[in-house]
């Protein structure tokens, strides 16, 4: 069961991390620094766009850095 979960989700780990952790992290950093997101986006919307995109990029390139 756990093995199946890991096998299925494992390759999508970076994207899930982008959504599950980076998105709220980016949003909260924007809020705490008082930065104004462009195009009238809310901090959370910026997080939800940037976080999963960073994750997808990491998944496709095979590296975060």
């Amino acid at each position: 069961m756990i093995g199946k979960i890991l096998t299925t989700l494992g390759p999508w780990g970076p994207v899930l991390f982008g959504f599950g952790f980076l998105a709220p992290l980016i949003a909260q950093v924007i809020e705490r620094t008082g930065a104004t997101p462009p195009l009238g986006l809310s901090p959370l919307m910026v997080g939800l766009i940037v976080g999963p995109l960073l994750g997808l990029s990491a998944k496709l390139r095979g590296r975060w850095l």
Binding site: I5, G13, G20, F21, L25, Q28, G62, L65
Partner: protein
């Protein structure tokens, strides 16, 4: 004397030399063991207090930071130190140095092993199993789970360590479990490891979506990444560099660290640990000082880092 007699005489002489050398080898082994036994046994209170105290400190950072008592930027270096310090007490538990199997305090051994590495998210059974493989196959490129740290310089070791943790890379610990086969103990180890790692990611996401992403990043996620890099450098790369030899007395080394034994987390005397894993870390230096003449006679490596 005829040539046949000379050969015979030489053969007898060689036998005599071996007869003298063999007891010497046994004597060295006996002396080494006698010294080792003096340091093995008493409950390593310092290591136990270190493990539980370090965990308590790290756990305390959460309410202190979330309640606003401690700014996250203050918690961050403390948490990083906690991660760096969390492995070694668990390492003693991996070798059952708090209590052997069946002993009354065995539960404490396992407790320290399981909980002390929570900050670095290292599942205990996985750590124990792969560490035993490291001891059995030290410096074997195929079988030593820690061989991946091999690098020519310390900064290359850091870069290689970061590369190993990138998405899609083969995890040497997972590979080791796979190699060890379809055994119930191995399966249980893998299951426990998977649950603990999944729990880490789930807790991190739950904290982040509850409004504590910065706290989670600065107390757990970033410190874990920095700490694992530091631990890998000091505990795996430094003592075994340059990883070419496999003999009992040559697969690791004594090294004089220019930055001091504390910053290399006591690894100057790592050779004592490989020879006698039952000696706790806090007694390795004293054991080394006593064993030094024996280790020199054995041709051990004495180097500088």
């Amino acid at each position: 004397m005829s040539s046949a007699m000379e050969v015979l005489a030489k053969g007898e002489l060689d036998d005599d030399i071996e007869a003298v050398a063999a007891p010497s080898d046994r004597d060295l082994a006996r002396q080494e063991l006698t010294i080792a036994r003096r340091y093995i046994g008493p409950f390593p209170v310092i290591m136990a207090a270190w493990g539980l105290g370090n965990l308590t400190c790290w756990l305390a950072l959460w309410p202190l930071t979330i309640s606003g008592v401690l700014p996250p930027w203050v918690a961050f270096p403390i948490a990083t130190l906690n991660v760096i310090l969390c492995y070694l007490p668990s390492h003693e538990a991996q070798h059952s140095n708090y209590a052997k199997s069946g002993a009354p305090l065995r539960w404490l051994n396992e407790l320290i092993g399981y909980v002390s590495t929570i900050p670095m998210v290292l599942p205990f059974k996985l750590a124990r199993m792969t560490h035993m493989e490291h001891h059995t196959h030290t410096n074997n490129p195929e079988l030593d789970p820690d061989y991946g740290v091999k690098a020519d310089t310390w900064w290359q070791a850091i870069i290689e360590g970061i590369k190993r943790r990138q998405p899609g890379r083969n995890d040497s610990y997972a590979q080791t479990l796979k190699r060890l086969g379809d055994d119930p103990v191995v399966r249980r180890t893998g299951l426990e490891a998977a649950i603990q790692v999944l729990a880490y990611w789930a807790i991190l996401a739950a904290l982040a979506w509850s409004g504590y992403a910065i706290e989670a990043a600065l107390i757990w996620w970033l410190p874990r990444n920095i700490g694992v890099t530091y631990i890998s450098l000091m505990l795996s790369w430094a003592p075994h560099f340059p990883n070419p030899e496999r003999g009992r007395y040559r697969n690791t080394r004594y090294f004089k660290a220019r930055i001091g034994n504390i910053l290399v987390m006591g690894m100057e005397h790592h050779i004592v640990h490989h020879l006698h894993p039952g000696i706790p870390l806090n007694r390795n230096a004293a054991a080394f000082r006593e064993m030094r003449p024996i280790l020199e006679a054995r041709g051990c490596r004495f180097e500088t880092l």
